[in-house]
Point group: C2
Chain length 694, copies 2
């Protein structure tokens, strides 16, 4: 893909002398950004543009030009691509709109375009975007007029579906003191998609931080795998989270909204940083260009006691600890103060200390303290103080690098001064403390997750899989989902405990079975046609003597007329709290595991946790502990704590089951009764996918 | 207070020729901001400053100077104030630090200062702040150097405890196209406090929006009353919400943190807009300078489909409806588009339409639609497009005013351009759609609350109060809280239903009482010394025959040895869901009413709702409906809905009880059993305040 991002020759197709012509902006951008390769202009009419002739036919070009940039009406694109193929062009950046995002007809044009591309081995960027802008080498092929003065070269590369968002980020990143390497406006992703670009950027030495803006995640699983393969931070701005935006998203770049809860957890698992808006994206980029926040201990230095309090509020919100200053340190700092009207503490209020050299001295003393993980330096200056304040930024930068700790520099000043500093200095500036603290929290999470949760090994459970394979095969051949005993057998094979059960085929066996199981039992119908068992009377509970059981047996037998499947007899578990374990296969992210408290909690409070499988032990533990309602399992009102370990184990085994059998569409283990010792499933259902899996 | 904000003569005390002297900045600010009154300079040494002589003694001044601005070491302040008094100065702005925020000794100095001030009838601003800055008339008495160029005159006035925060807001408001009228840095509020200033600003014709920054709310009730008395919007930035910031807040301006949940609800009740950080404060100010958002119907116009999606996400988050465009309107808009590659819908993607006159045309068409309540106009421009884009802002302003609807203008552009526009234009500019949407939500809430909830009348329940007064008087005389039957009697008098009960003094009565009450009963001890009744065995439940009841009676009698109070026999209520009603008297906000679901819900999920009393019916209804767990009362899993109306009624009556009897410190009605019809309290406790109430 180097040829695409660093071409030696480019043909721009669709230019004209008309000042309203959009493709001429592409040419102008290439000139302004001093692109060094050859540029060829193609248009419908002959003419001269920027001193170069416009060819009316691709025929006239030499063979093997690296990249064609196309901005012509949609219906002309297939023909142009055919001509490109003949000329051995291998990369096409199609910026035209009017394809699948617009109409049925446009969708057909897309199909034809793709067919021709595949015939010639052409790879396509777009359509319906503003193509590629590589600030490194001046290959800026956007059809929007851009200014080299306003764009800063740097270490962030960005992938975006939308052209407008690409432009926005070009601008925001330039004034964020971090700068841009490459931006791809991916448009409809007819051929190349975010995974292709991402894998290129992961290996691109110029790219240190990767940003992605997506309206839909269609290749979730690949995204997670790519993200896990790199140590470069990846920040994702996922829009289109709500119902209202779905309509335009569909029109705009044919995006389909994902279940946002799955997106949220999946990204977290792969340590992809999720930005919920432009501002948090830029905050993340800023903080990731600093050394990492390795722990929780923070010092806040502030020129204003009031703003220090605002910062301390934010620090608490994000779970930081204000590092307690030792007495000796306090004394040293105290001796610096001219008028002794301020207490040295943390937050440290620099108060009416108007000596910038002293700020430097104090800052260095603080950064030096080994146990301190990060620093907020809150500065404010207006008027005459702005000029001498600039040097403080360099001090912060130097100390941050020397001691490898983030010094988040917050600066409240006049808007014009801020604009200048952001443009001129290569150290990130935050404005509000809230921004800086949220950013430091991102850095801490990123660092810890990379170090801890992602490193935890996957458990492996040895399971006799063949028998289950047979069960599923038979069920699929018979075009039904596994029946109750088959589902139980599957879970049992995976070591997920089920309340003791046995299938009874003849009434005469019933007594012996009940005797063996002990205590009250439930009787359950086994039939492919009765899926909502309890609604139809297919489940009869709390049978505590043989007579009642016999009556129940008769009733259920009648219900399942003609079926030779027998009746399932299961031990009643009256103790314990109900929880739900579940799994489903998401079209984008693959198998997803679910956990929640059962009954009223899941119905009223709708609190569940999700993880993309496979999960490791730490993730399984998180699934339980992140729920507020999980406190109920830990023992409230004097009750004894329940067996959370068995739940963790069951979640891990469920995860492996989903990984082992791609033909499983979903699993519902509901309820599971959690006891003081152990946890047993009482009911379960497995649904197979329609198509035969791998 | 006009004399304080618009003085005709000012004495600045504490100046010297020393370039490090802080008080000289005050003088310089007065000059730079062209303060028109007389200025007198007082210092320890003679000298000349800005061409004026420094007097070494207040004695030399004429009598009756309007305001003294004092910035001298704390220990000199009482003496100076004494001298001011003699010279008939009635207003002192004390900017010195080193008072109660710093040390015990400083606290004593404060006391002395206040004593002297009261002796002479001097009112004090501060100490430990940067005093008053009135941009209107140039009375800018801050000791920080300020620049008239950087500060915009306007319609927002601000009260802040902290000097640093005052400066920050001076700067932020100036570049928010709204501008400042007056800023008071209140410091330690030794004498004048936020209520005094607030009441002045409420009647100040130059102030249209009032902003307040507080680290503690000590006069909550007065704050609410003042806020309710005005139609001017009030925005409050309440810092010091967390544990961590409490320490510095105490040091900084002697602030004590309030229970943040009470603060949150109290402000909402009085329609004081709460800003959680600088950014949301400024967003609120911006939107309140626009016409109000009267409803929920929104149109998003955007140059970029991608950013339109981001905006639509935010719109959904804040509960707006994207107004569905009529077909005829769509067609009209559609005919404007040059290349038909974009679908006219809402959000409306203006796409590659590079014609700014068309934007104006479309915007006007949209603003005109009567059913549309507000508009987001999302613009983005860089480079050459920035200059022609400026006119669009004027268009937005003109349309917004003409049609009296908010047009929230979001503009993503180069940082320098944004700085220029914010300074030069008097129409608020948002950057991110998220900011604009959160701001429109503020406007909508403000408008609706003013119109609806605040207008709802208070109910009045006629209650025979004398008997209760007697009960409380006796309890206080005996230095105890009301006993169980007295608490029940009080609630009964207020029409809060209690499960049927009777006090039994002799065992022989027991049988008759149980017969009357019907069904199982509970027996409860009545004794001032046993407060945790159930822990000590003082409550015996579920007594379903007379024999058991008699045994229980004996046990309880033994427990309450020597007390002649009898035993309380109460009907058991086994049905119903448990809820808690409560009330307490907050030192700042006065009586507060609490509601929550009982048992596990309140213990594990800790979800309760609060309101400052008195509450009206709408507020009582909100108290219940705002709880997620309240869904349980509405009937889940096929259960029938419970009697929420009776709960609303009980909350209203509880509110009046707290208002009627200031001697009540707190009430706990826990549990209340809510039934399908009715809701009855099963236990209750009333605590009286130590001091005799009003």
């Amino acid at each position: 893909m180097d040829q695409l991002f660093y071409p030696k020759s480019v043909a721009v197709i669709g230019v004209s002398e008309d000042p309203q012509n959009l493709a001429r902006n592409i040419v102008e951008n290439l000139f302004k950004f001093q692109f060094h390769g050859e540029i060829f202009l193609i248009g419908r009419r002959e003419g001269i543009l920027f001193g170069r002739g416009i060819c009316t036919s691709l025929e006239e070009l030499r063979e093997g030009i690296d990249v064609a940039v196309i901005l012509t009406p949609a219906q002309t694109v297939p023909g142009i691509l055919e001509a490109c193929g003949k000329k051995k062009i291998r990369w096409a950046v199609i910026e035209s709109g009017g394809f699948s995002e617009y109409s049925e007809e446009g969708a057909k044009l897309e199909e034809e375009t793709l067919r021709i591309a595949q015939k010639w081995g052409i790879r396509i960027v777009g359509p319906n975007g503003i193509g590629i802008s590589n600030i490194e080498n001046g290959f800026v092929a956007a059809f929007s007029p851009l200014s080299p003065k306003a764009l800063r070269k740097g270490k962030v590369s960005l992938l975006a579906q939308s052209g407008g968002v690409s432009l926005t980020y070009l601008n925001l990143l330039s004034s964020a003191s971090v700068g841009i390497s490459k931006v791809v406006s991916m448009g409809n992703k007819l051929d190349l998609n975010e995974i292709d670009y991402l894998n290129y950027l992961i290996h691109d030495p110029q790219t240190e931080i990767i940003g992605i803006y997506l309206e839909s995640i269609q290749r979730g699983r690949e995204l997670l795998e790519s993200a896990r393969s790199t140590s470069k931070p990846i920040i994702l701005h996922k829009a289109n989270t709500g119902e209202a935006s779905k309509e335009i998203a569909k029109l705009h770049t044919s995006a389909l909204a994902n279940d946002d809860k799955i997106v949220e957890t999946a990204l977290k698992q792969a340590d992809i940083i999720r930005a919920k808006d432009f501002r948090s994206f830029i905050n993340a980029v800023k903080v990731l260009s600093l050394p990492p926040m390795k722990g929780n201990d923070l010092v806040i230095l502030s020129r204003s006691g009031g703003i220090a309090i605002v910062a301390a509020d934010s620090a608490e919100r994000y779970g930081f600890r204000l590092f307690p200053m030792k007495k000796s340190f306090q004394d040293r700092i105290h001796s610096y103060f001219r008028a002794k009207v301020i207490q040295p503490t943390n937050p440290l209020d620099l108060g009416d200390l108007f000596d910038f050299d002293l700020y430097t001295k104090i800052l260095e003393q603080v950064v030096k303290i080994e146990a301190v993980d990060g620093i907020i330096f809150q500065h404010a200056a207006v008027g005459d103080e702005m000029e001498p304040s600039r040097k403080l930024i360099l001090t912060a930068k130097e100390l941050s690098l020397r001691y490898q700790k983030p010094v988040a520099y917050c600066y409240l000043t006049e808007e014009e001064e801020l604009a200048y500093i952001k443009r001129a200095f290569d150290y990130p500036i935050f404005t509000e403390p809230e921004d800086a603290l949220s950013a430091l929290a991102i850095s801490r999470e990123h660092y810890n997750r990379k170090r801890k949760i992602l490193k935890e090994k996957l458990p492996y459970f040895s399971v006799e899989r063949n028998r289950i394979k047979q069960l599923f095969k038979r069920a699929r051949d018979e075009k039904r989902d596994p029946l109750l005993p088959e589902a139980f057998e599957t879970l049992n094979a995976y070591g997920i405990p089920i309340a003791d059960y046995q299938v009874v085929y003849r009434k005469e066996e019933l007594e012996k079975v009940i005797e063996r199981i002990e205590g009250p039992v439930a009787l359950k119908v086994i039939s492919p046609s009765i899926s909502h068992k309890s609604d139809t009377g297919g489940v009869i509970l709390n049978l505590d003597d043989f007579k009642k059981a016999e009556q129940a047996y008769n009733k259920i037998k009648q219900l399942a007329r003609g079926s030779g499947d027998g009746v399932l007899v299961q031990k009643m578990i009256s103790d314990g709290k109900e929880v739900i374990l579940g799994a489903k296969r998401d079209p984008s992210f693959g198998p997803v595991i679910l956990f929640g408290l059962g009954g009223i909690y899941v119905e009223v409070l709708k609190e569940t946790s999700l993880r993309v499988a496979p999960i490791n032990r730490l993730e399984a533990e998180e699934m339980i502990s992140e729920l507020k309602t999980a406190a109920i399992l830990k023992g409230v009102r004097g009750e004894r704590p329940l067996d959370i370990n068995t739940l963790v184990e069951s979640l891990l085994r469920l995860s492996q089951l989903m990984m082992d059998f791609p033909e499983i569409e979903g699993i519902d283990i509901n309820p599971v009764k959690v006891l003081e010792k152990g946890a047993v499933a009482v009911d379960a259902r497995i649904v197979l996918s329609k198509e035969r899996g791998a």
